[in-house]
């Protein structure tokens, strides 16, 4: 820069020295060791002053943030603070939002009734909800769970949806001796005898989900011997795939296709489906989350493929979403887990029956709830009952109260049965159903176990033009489920013990 060169002639030696120092400070290549000088100290002081100003500004900003966080975090003594996270974006946004909606519904309902009775306070206290958005990021969730405990001082800590976003909370909750109420995380790795600060409220441990399904497929051995299993490489889905695989192998049915994947798009599933199709399977089971199931069905449609038996998890758990976001007719004859609201519990002793909850939810929101809505609400119901039973917000007392409820409580989601040592959920079984098209829409028909069945499966599934599929609406409730389904599990050969091989995968 010519002008700069000209100016350089008139500046003082001390200024040159200072600029050299600045160059060094900036990491410039032109590093010339400073020589100092008689007039350098004033300039050095000025430079240091700027650095000090920058540092002070940063510290003030951090301090103000800290103050703000602390100030807003102070909880009222006149309420019970419930803290949870939700995923406002990212891969868990849909399911997390549904769970939170269910929990909020319970909180609003409880507050409308005057709050929760807390014996230690001698009165009913309103519930106050504190939430943070973890954006489906475990790193963000880690910070925010800590924030809920240490800054917001929540009385009740509820984890976000699923195992991935619950994992960061497990160790933190244990470290702070705060009971973690877990609505939908089912990884067996969370539940150990050494950690009394977690309790699984609304979902069966994932390795147990496919027990009924496995027994059903084996019972159909005369028709189904070529099974293809595709599963997402996450704990929730892998545990199910391994349990199923092991059970089938033990019964003499070795899957012709058994593959994990991280696929998330229809294009990726298309490639996988081509490979599956080449094995000529009689049954195709896809274990994934909602977004995976949507991509799976889109790929099926795009490739005009048809299989006699297709099973996915989320066809049942989030029927409305799947039905809306997959090509018309995709769910025809699809098998899935039977769970509320498709399975309805009328013989409950805590909260509303499934049907009355569905009705009140529908009148409030205009459309029916899905499984994760119910799981969130169910978690709230059990939290409320746990608090009332404990009579205080002491975290150890809360866990003991949850244990007391185990085995003698049935809610709209089924029997609440805890492993009272580890906190894992053993109730709320997952039966098998199939969506069968009728003139009025898809009808979810529970097909197994037989004592609870509301119909029989249509196998092989008729090949129909998917684009001309049946109407979308689900027609009516299907079955009146009883806790008997749990006893069914106990009577079967396929207990978790007998399937030790897949279940024993290393969780710790």
């Amino acid at each position: 820069m010519p002008s700069g060169v000209a100016n350089r002639k008139v500046i003082s030696q001390s200024q040159v020295t200072l600029l050299q120092q600045w160059g060094y400070f900036m990491g410039s290549e032109n590093v010339t060791p400073p020589t100092g000088g008689p007039s350098g100290s004033r300039k050095k002081s000025s430079r240091n002053a700027i650095i000090a100003i920058v540092v002070v500004v940063i510290l003030i900003a951090a301090g103000l943030t800290a103050y703000e966080l602390t100030r807003t975090g102070k909880s009222s003594q006149q309420s019970i603070t419930v803290g949870t996270l939700y995923a406002g974006s990212g891969s868990f946004a849909l399911s997390s939002g549904y769970q939170l909606a269910g929990l909020k519904y319970w909180i609003n309902q409880t507050n409308a009734n005057g709050g929760l009775m807390l014996n230690s306070a001698g009165k009913k206290l309103p519930l106050k909800l504190v939430t943070y958005n973890d954006q489906s990021s475990t790193a963000t969730a880690q910070t925010e769970y800590t924030n809920l405990i240490t800054t917001n001082h929540v009385n009740i800590l509820v984890s976000d949806f699923g195992s991935t976003l619950t994992a960061p909370a497990v160790a933190i909750a244990q470290e702070h001796h705060q009971l973690l109420f877990d609505p939908t995380a089912s990884s067996p790795g969370f539940f150990t005898a050494t950690n009394p600060y977690i309790v699984d409220l609304s979902i069966l441990v994932s390795s147990q989900w496919p027990l009924v399904l496995a027994h059903y497929i084996i019972s159909q051995k005369s028709n189904i011997t070529r099974v293809a299993i595709l599963y997402l490489d996450q704990a929730f889905t892998t545990a199910q795939a391994q349990t199923l695989d092991s059970a089938l192998v033990a019964a003499g049915i070795t899957p012709v296709y058994y593959q994990s994947t991280s696929a998330s798009s229809a294009a990726e599933y298309s490639t996988l489906l081509q490979s599956i199709n080449a094995t000529h399977p009689q049954a195709v089971l896809n274990f994934g989350y909602d977004t995976n199931d949507i991509a799976f069905f889109q790929a099926l449609n795009a490739n005009s493929m048809h299989f006699n038996f297709v099973f996915t998890i989320y066809a049942g758990l989030e029927y409305a979403v799947l039905n809306k976001q997959t090509p018309a007719g995709s769910l025809n004859y699809t098998y899935t887990y039977a769970s509320p609201p498709d399975v309805q519990y009328s013989n409950v002793n805590l909260g509303p029956t499934t049907s009355s909850f569905v009705n009140s939810w529908t009148s409030a929101y205009g459309s029916g709830p899905n499984f994760n809505n119910i799981a969130g609400y169910n978690a709230g119901l059990l939290i409320g009952k746990t608090i009332e039973t404990a009579g205080s917000l002491n975290q150890t007392a809360l866990r003991q109260a949850a244990n007391k409820l185990s085995g003698n409580t049935t809610t709209l989601e089924g029997p609440f049965v805890l492993n009272t040592t580890s906190g894992a959920q053993l109730g709320m079984p997952m039966d098998v159903m199939q969506y069968q098209p009728t003139s009025t829409g898809l009808r979810p028909v529970v097909i197994y176990p037989t004592d609870l069945a509301t119909g029989t499966a249509v196998y092989p599934a008729p090949s129909v033009a998917l684009s001309g599929g049946s109407p979308a609406a689900v027609s009516g409730p299907l079955m009146q489920a009883q806790p008997a389904s749990q006893s069914f599990l106990n009577q079967q050969a396929f207990t978790s013990e007998s399937m030790a091989a897949p279940v024993q995968v290393r969780f710790r």
Binding site: E144, S163, A167, F507, R508
Partner: protein
């Protein structure tokens, strides 16, 4: 060792800058958790300081941007977790070994250094994905925990972990200062400015870049080990997070000023605080606000805020030159 040959910068100046660097960091890590009870925030800050310093060495000084930089972080976390959970190693030794695994992995990836620009960035991203798929593969469950993740909560000690992380964050910052003031650092910067000119001068640029790559991966591995220890239980995606441990770190370094000693530290301190604040209080808008903020920063201060500080210095000390 001849100090003057290794460190071209004046010793007093190095010592003073070290003081300027250590004091605020020490205060922040010491007083932060007292002001604000959520120690987790400061733990993450320490981790990001280490990652930003590590990235600064390879990206800031040599100009090579590894988009899949987070792979070394993840391998450090996994190395530590596997050794503790499955082989019963003490945590300190496991963290060190985990960092060495990261350095070994970086050696395996040294052929990537023969690429440059976008090709290098994309190749490093592919390496990241490949390693992620290996670690999360269910066939390797007995070795890595696979998709079930890995747990070593038996040694969970967040307070000790934080103290170690805070000290090592300061050490990593001092490492960058030392590199910057050394003949090695000057060589790296020369490579960044004109690799071919440096090679024509007889300098083996690949050797220097490999050294930088090794130091950077080792530091990332240490950060990963500490973070894994802090989590206690993690799934593959928790540490193989491209957004959290690659993209965000790149943004921090760019914002502060890559290739500078203080820039990445200021970048982490300011942007991390902004990011966390937005996440906690404007969570629905965080991605929009942060995105717009980054666009503005790149448009108006592409070389980072340290450049603005320098300009301010020039205005104060050389007003006659003006702008």
């Amino acid at each position: 060792m001849n100090f003057r040959k290794v460190f071209l910068a004046d010793r007093r100046m190095l010592a003073r800058d070290a003081g300027i660097m250590v004091l605020p960091l020490a205060l922040l890590f010491l007083l932060g958790p007292m002001l604000f009870a959520n120690q987790g925030l400061f733990m993450e800050l320490a981790i990001y300081v280490m990652l930003a310093d590590a990235l600064n060495i390879v990206y800031g000084f040599t100009g090579y941007l590894p988009f899949g930089f987070g792979v070394f972080f993840a391998v450090g976390a996994y190395g530590t977790a596997i050794l503790v959970a499955f082989h019963g190693w003490p945590v300190a030794l496991a963290i060190l070994a985990g960092a060495l695994f990261s350095a070994l992995l970086s050696l395996l990836f040294t052929p990537l250094l023969r690429l440059s620009g976008a090709y290098f960035a994309i190749a490093s991203l592919a390496a990241f994905e490949a390693v992620y798929l290996i670690f999360s593969n269910s066939s390797l469950t007995s070795v890595t925990g696979g998709p079930y993740g890995i747990s070593f909560t038996s040694v969970y000690a967040p307070n000790l972990d934080y103290a170690v992380a805070a000290v090592l964050a300061v050490v990593s910052a001092l490492t960058v200062l030392a590199v910057s003031g050394s003949s090695f650092g000057i060589a790296l910067k020369a490579i960044r400015e004109d690799r071919f000119a440096v090679e024509l001068a007889g300098v083996n640029s690949l050797k220097y870049r490999t050294y930088a790559w090794l130091i950077s991966s080792f530091l990332s591995g240490v950060a990963g080990g500490l973070y894994g220890w802090y989590l206690g239980f993690f799934y593959p995606e928790a540490v193989f997070s491209l957004t959290d441990f690659s993209v965000l770190v790149i943004v921090f370094v760019l914002f502060g000023g890559r290739g500078t000693v203080f820039g990445p530290l200021i970048g982490v301190a300011v942007l991390f605080a902004v990011y966390e604040f937005l996440t906690l209080y404007f969570s629905n808008l965080v991605l929009i606000i942060f995105g717009v903020l980054l666009v503005l920063l790149i448009l108006f201060i592409p070389n980072g805020i340290m450049e603005q500080v320098t300009r301010l210095g020039r205005l104060l000390f050389r007003p006659e030159e003006g702008e």
